[in-house]
């Protein structure tokens, strides 16, 4: 067990525990704040995996923007402090099934794709901006562009939905 392994395990534990608190806390804002901890711990994991750029992107986009957006929406709709303001829905069993299935599917893909990978701690290839840019815009440019079209479609869809009936 090297120091890196220990820190990695600790970060993973933090991510897991805070993720559990996200889904169990009875205060929806607390859930959003625990999500910040989860995302931060995952960013730490990325750093330890030598994926620096991905880690800072995670911090900038997820912790700095997505959670702010989440909090904005929550503060706009569910404001009271005090316990019991979290949404309890009857769909919880269904959500459990969906989440479980997603975990299994993603885990299987990861296992199949990177099951035997070993990161040699002595000669790490750090995921710099240059290397990642090369991979995305040379090798994987088509899937990347297709994904961006999907996002654009979602954006347009959201605008259409919110402006419906406004003629």
């Amino acid at each position: 067990m090297t120091a890196v392994t220990v820190v990695f395990a600790a970060m993973g534990l933090v991510a897991l525990v805070s993720a559990f608190l996200v889904v169990t806390s009875d205060q929806i804002i607390h859930a959003a704040l625990w999500l910040v901890v989860t995302l931060g711990a995952v960013a730490g994991l990325y750093v330890l995996l030598a994926a620096e750029l991905v880690a800072w992107v995670q911090v900038l986009i997820y912790m700095g923007s997505v959670v702010v957006l989440l909090l904005f929406a929550l503060m706009l709709t569910r404001t009271p402090t005090g316990p019991g303001s979290a949404t309890v829905t009857r769909n919880q069993p269904l959500a459990t099934v969906v989440a479980g299935a997603t975990t299994v599917a993603l885990g299987a893909v990861m296992w199949a794709g990177f099951g035997g990978e070993v990161i040699d701690e002595d000669e790490v290839r750090v995921g710099t901006a240059a290397r990642l840019g090369d991979a995305i815009f040379r090798t994987w440019v088509l899937p990347f562009e297709v994904l961006s079209v999907v996002l654009l479609a979602a954006l347009v869809g959201a605008i259409v939905l919110t402006r419906r009936g406004e003629r």
């Binding site: 804002i29 992107v57 901006a129």
Partner: protein, 317 residues
């Protein structure tokens, strides 16, 4: 052993800068605003032109009672000031004062700085919600909407110089800086400082704290040391914004005899930018919420995109 000592020393220096420079900026703000408004400002504390005013303020804040509203969410309420303050300390580690005078020269320094800076806003949001006060809550909402509008132009304008330098390292960008950037990267500079001001909620973008309508926005319920931390976060934010502007757009440590005096140049430029930040506060009235968002989306984003396109053409040509 020597390496550990050096790291410890660097950490200590950055910490000292974090504790001293924001106070200096605070004093600049007190005095500049006073003289621009035909007052003299603090004159007594410490003797010479009230130089110790902020230290006296600090002592006063420590003595004050720490009040927490009964309906407040105590944990989040207590954590918020720290969440607002600590990110700026972390960012200071990657901002260089000279080619080797930097806490840590990260390969992705610029990205790191922008990413960590965006976390500080969570502190205002947490404070706004946890205070259980409707003025605080509205202030928090305004903080969030403002951040979402201004984050994009800020990142876009920073990308422009990073592209020109061909690196994301802050030291690398300052080393690649040329005089001509002052001229044709000027739109990016203006967008960066404007968006930075909005992210720090400094006037004229202080709609979230608008004292005439929201008391003090997210900070209404805070007093004593906790309020002092929010105040310190504001000045530390100005310091970080000014230092980043210096490094990205004003050539960092460049200047006459920059071999020995580089750090002095960097500090001077930083303080001049901070002075401008104070000046903007005195010069312009607060913008309305809709004007604020319109400015971001209709003016700053197009300008930043145009600058980015221009830079791309120059880099490729």
């Amino acid at each position: 052993m020597g390496e550990v000592l050096e790291i410890a020393l660097r950490c200590l220096v950055v910490l000292a800068a974090f504790l001293v420079l924001p106070l200096l900026i605070g004093q600049i703000e007190h005095k500049t605003m006073a003289h621009m408004q035909s007052r003299v400002g603090p004159m007594y504390a410490g003797g010479f032109h009230g130089w110790a005013q902020l230290i006296a303020d600090g002592v006063k804040f420590v003595q004050k009672e720490d009040v927490t509203p009964r309906a407040a969410d105590r944990t989040v309420f207590a954590l918020a000031p720290a969440v607002a303050l600590v990110p700026y300390l972390v960012v200071l580690f990657v901002i260089p004062l000279g080619p080797s005078m930097v806490g840590a020269d990260l390969d992705l320094g610029l990205f790191f700085a922008l990413a960590v800076m965006s976390i500080g806003v969570l502190g205002s949001l947490m404070g706004g919600w946890a205070s259980a006060n409707k003025y605080s809550l509205i202030g928090g909402l305004r903080v969030a909407s403002q951040l979402m509008s201004y984050e994009l132009p800020m990142v876009l304008s920073a990308v422009s110089v990073a592209m020109m330098a061909g690196t994301l390292s802050l030291v690398g960008i300052a080393e690649a800086w040329q005089w001509s950037w002052l001229l044709w990267q000027l739109p990016a500079l203006v967008v960066f400082v404007t968006a930075g001001l909005a992210e720090l909620q400094r006037p004229p973008f202080d709609m979230p704290i608008a004292d005439a309508e929201l008391v003090l926005g997210p900070y209404t319920e805070y007093g004593g040391m906790r309020f002092a931390m929010f105040l310190l976060a504001e000045y530390a934010g100005i310091l970080v914004l000014a230092a980043l502007t210096t490094t990205l757009f004003l050539g960092g440590w460049r200047g006459p005899s920059s071999e020995e005096l580089g750090w002095l140049w960097a500090l001077t430029k930083t303080m001049v930018v901070a002075f401008f930040v104070v000046w903007f506060r005195v010069a312009w009235p607060r913008m309305r919420e809709d004007q604020l968002n319109a400015l971001a989306w209709k003016a700053l984003v197009p300008v930043a995109l145009g600058q980015l396109a221009l830079t791309t053409v120059v880099v490729l040509a």
